[in-house]
């Protein structure tokens, strides 16, 4: 069952009506559990048992850790549940990758033995619900939360259908307290939810899915492409992956707002970040905070000296890369992000370009320059992320970093327009009024603003979005990119 389908619309309306009809809080929770399991079964069939297994093992492990008398026992249970949960994730996600690399190693050592691959279907959302379950266990271990008394409430936390397939990774501390109250569907929640869902569909279908074929065509065979083509495809991929993932998150958040059980935000205008550190505070927020809280800080964070900080950052981001998928380009991407973060930490507040330059960098124009420089490096990361093999990656990286200055007439026209736009932007930023207007435009929470409009104005928003959805939805719709993670 896809989000963008008549089946899901019927399913969702039925859930909402049933939630309104049910008076008892417990019945509402049971209804949502049944609905969530049905939803997961419709996408992942028999893999429902893995969801059930992760739910049971993390619930009872959390309880056992809480009851364990000493730290050693707590640690032993924690390691046990980690091994059990991650072995599932590891098997489904990394088995063939491991075998492939092991075979390559054997080949290098001139050993004839080869291990065969097995055909594995990756259960959708396994990384997300496994991490949600583990966060619950970690938080109990760290003494941040008390274990949940009722299994059904915990099961709802893990399986809650809006976040089940591609996040956000919800923490028990954010979700479980909401279950103490009766679920009330309020008009403001419905309006905000519909506003978000419409916007999410727009980002996914109109922007991401329209861009997808252009990006795929370039990265399927980039050899021979000019710098212009590679850079355009990389920028488009950056837009595609943002609109695809944040589109899903908006739909999930929208559904959650309507139901009244809220989910955490996962994106906060990441492409306006002024540094790599800020980018990771704004991109896939729930994953990066998971990695920070449960990997980076336990490794020592920045408390054990400079070198150790960089090592910790590198290790955390390599893990983040590997979480995205079983391929070396994801590992490389993680390593690259780790290096970027370390480099930023290294130079931040240590390098001064002189008082005047520093003053300029603190102005609106300076911030714009910082954003452009940061995004240049962030998008280079997307290039690493998207390339299909090392040979293509090397070729594309060369073309991205060392411009070949081969342009068609049309491309020259496009470049002139881009340069003029940037210059115009700089000129506008010199004017205090314009600058604050631009900042206000960027920082406004448009979704909340639109959902707060009176119905006649809100109608126009919905009408335009739906019209664009009908007009520009491609005939074939690729799955959400993050389903594969």
């Amino acid at each position: 069952m896809e989000f963008f389908s008549v089946e899901f619309a019927i399913f969702f309306i039925f859930v909402i009506v049933a939630l309104i009809a049910l008076q008892k809080q417990k019945f509402q929770h049971f209804l949502l559990i049944i609905a969530s399991y049905l939803f997961y079964w419709s996408t992942s069939d028999i893999f429902l048992v893995i969801l059930l297994f992760i739910t049971l093992i993390t619930f009872y492990a959390g309880d056992a850790i809480h009851k364990a008398g000493n730290t050693g026992r707590k640690k032993a249970i924690l390691i046990g549940v980690l091994v059990a949960s991650l072995s599932f994730l590891g098997f489904f996600k990394y088995y063939n990758f491991g075998i492939d690399n092991f075979n390559t190693l054997l080949q290098l050592l001139n050993i004839d033995t080869r291990f065969s691959f097995i055909s594995i279907f990756l259960p959708i959302g396994i990384s997300f619900y496994t991490f949600s379950g583990l966060s619950y266990v970690f938080d109990i271990y760290l003494g941040k939360i008390e274990p949940e008394e009722y299994l059904y409430k915990y099961a709802l936390f893990i399986s809650y259908f809006p976040h089940l397939l591609a996040g956000p990774i919800v923490r028990a501390g954010q979700f479980l307290p909401q279950l103490k109250h009766h679920i009330v569907i309020v008009p403001a929640g419905i309006k905000l939810g519909i506003t978000l869902i419409a916007w999410g569909f727009f980002k996914k279908i109109v922007i991401a899915d329209t861009i997808a074929p252009i990006v795929s065509a370039t990265f399927a065979d980039p050899q021979g492409s000019t710098s212009f083509t590679i850079i355009v495809a990389t920028v488009l991929f950056g837009i595609q992956i943002y609109c695809d993932f944040s589109g899903y998150i908006d739909i999930a958040l929208g559904c959650a707002h309507i139901i009244g059980l809220h989910l955490p935000e996962n994106f906060n205008r990441p492409y306006f970040s002024k540094s790599p550190t800020e980018f990771w505070r704004r991109w896939n927020i729930t994953l990066s905070s998971f990695i920070k809280d449960y990997v980076y800080i336990p490794l020592g964070g920045n408390r054990k000296g400079k070198v150790r900080t960089y090592v910790n950052l590198m290790a955390s981001m390599l893990l983040c890369g590997l979480w995205h998928g079983a391929a070396w380009n994801f590992v490389l991407w993680g390593g690259y992000q780790g290096a970027l973060l370390s480099l930023h930490k290294m130079i931040h507040n240590r390098i001064s370009f002189g008082k005047r330059v520093d003053q300029v960098l603190d102005t609106h124009s300076g911030l714009f320059i910082k954003i452009l420089i940061t995004q240049y490096f962030i998008f280079f990361g997307w290039l690493i992320f998207r390339c299909q093999n090392l040979q293509d990656m090397v070729y594309c990286a060369k073309k991205y970093l060392f411009i070949d200055f081969i342009f068609s007439r049309f491309e020259i026209l496009a470049i002139i327009i881009i340069i003029l736009t940037v210059v115009l932007f700089f000129i506008l930023l010199q004017n205090q009024k314009c600058a604050s207007c631009i900042v206000r435009l960027i920082s406004t929470d448009w979704i909340t603003t639109i959902s707060g409009l009176k119905l006649s104005h809100w109608f126009v928003y919905l009408w335009v979005i739906i019209l664009l959805l009908i007009m520009f939805s491609p005939s074939s719709r690729p799955e959400f990119i993050y389903f594969q993670f």
């Binding site: 309020v186 008009p187 419905i190 109608f459 009408w463 959805l469 009908i470 007009m471």
Partner: protein, 340 residues
């Protein structure tokens, strides 16, 4: 309490507003397709312009020749040159290049009835060996485009699968929704194409039935060699399943049979290909293919290996030089046929 003073629950008002927005969006979309998109498609989508040509063509005292085939024919044939050559031989014909990009004998069955109704003297079919192997899958949007505008006879109907037949008979509203895939082309036509003609898509040829080509830069020999290397070899041992009973083969035979039944002369031209690409086709495959063409019972002319690589701007399509030579050569065949 008075009915009018009752307040509607805010949640119901929100849901009603959302439903009304959906309804209005659909009404706007269907109005847009009815007033803008569909008329544009009728004039700018080759599958439709060709169909419209057949149905609106006036009868002529001068013998008419229809050239049908793929983009190889579309880009390779200049009807003005042929008409001039025929005129020079003291004859007179009217030639029309009605080829469609990526066409296949199967898809062309959607035009068969219209061609017969247009009553040409001769139909020249440009065939291509690769065309017979593949092309059973036809893009959904191309079938939907001509849906409910065509007549299929019983044997033709049997050659399409159930899904394809479903697409050829979709509900008009569903057809309008499916035609949204052309909106980007429509917007290109109105914007980028106006600023830089021929830069994005060759809209100019779509209504051109005489010399419908777009001048393209010639690919270098290195580019062509690299491209040819990436081609799968065409070999009967590999493709025998497709080749044996391919629907395209049956569709071609049916087309010929129906045209002949209606006293229309059929000529088959095996289209020229770049020698670099032709090397990929095994000799056995070629022999089997020409044996098949023999079974059609019509005269065929083999131009497959006729021209050098310099006559092609890519591996399949001829450049100005190739187009000129090919058109003159075809004119000789036409003169010969008209004389007979």
């Amino acid at each position: 309490m008075k009915l009018s003073s009752r307040k509607i629950h805010p949640a119901i008002r929100i849901v009603a507003t959302a439903s009304f927005a959906i309804l209005c969006a659909f009404i706007c979309y269907f109005s847009f397709t009815a007033f803008f998109l569909n008329p544009w498609l009728e004039n700018n989508q080759r599958e439709l312009t060709v169909l419209n040509f057949y149905s609106h063509k006036n009868t002529s005292a001068v013998p008419e020749i229809f050239f049908i085939g793929t983009s190889q024919m579309k880009e390779g044939l200049d009807c003005y040159l042929i008409e001039d050559d025929v005129r020079a031989a003291n004859s007179s014909v009217l030639c029309y290049n009605l080829a469609v990009n990526a066409d296949t004998p199967l898809r062309r069955l959607t035009e068969l009835d219209a061609i017969i109704q247009a009553r040409p003297e001769i139909v020249v079919i440009g065939t291509d060996i690769r065309n017979m192997y593949s092309g059973e899958k036809i893009e959904e949007s191309r079938l939907i485009l001509v849906a409910n505008k065509i007549n299929l006879d019983a044997p033709s109907t049997e050659l399409f699968d159930a899904e394809q037949l479903g697409l050829l008979h979709v509900h008009p509203l569903e057809k309008d929704i499916a035609n949204r895939v052309y909106i980007v082309s429509y917007l290109n036509y109105l914007t980028i194409n106006k600023l830089a003609p021929n830069s994005v898509a060759d809209y100019e040829y779509r209504n051109n039935f005489k010399n419908p080509y777009k001048n393209v830069e010639n690919a270098s020999i290195e580019e062509k060699t690299a491209r040819a290397d990436s081609y799968d070899p065409v070999n009967d041992t590999v493709f025998s399943k497709n080749y044996g009973d391919s629907v395209n083969k049956l569709a071609l035979k049916h087309t010929i049979r129906e045209l002949q039944k209606n006293n229309i002369t059929v000529i088959i031209i095996e289209m020229p290909g770049d020698p670099l690409a032709m090397q990929k086709i095994s000799a056995t495959t070629k022999n089997n293919y020409f044996s098949f063409l023999n079974t059609t019972g019509v005269t065929y002319y083999n131009f497959q290996d006729r021209y050098p690589s310099t006559y092609f701007h890519d591996l399949s399509h001829m450049n100005v030089q190739g187009r000129t030579s090919f058109s003159h050569d075809i004119a000789q065949i036409i003169i010969q046929d008209v004389e007979q």
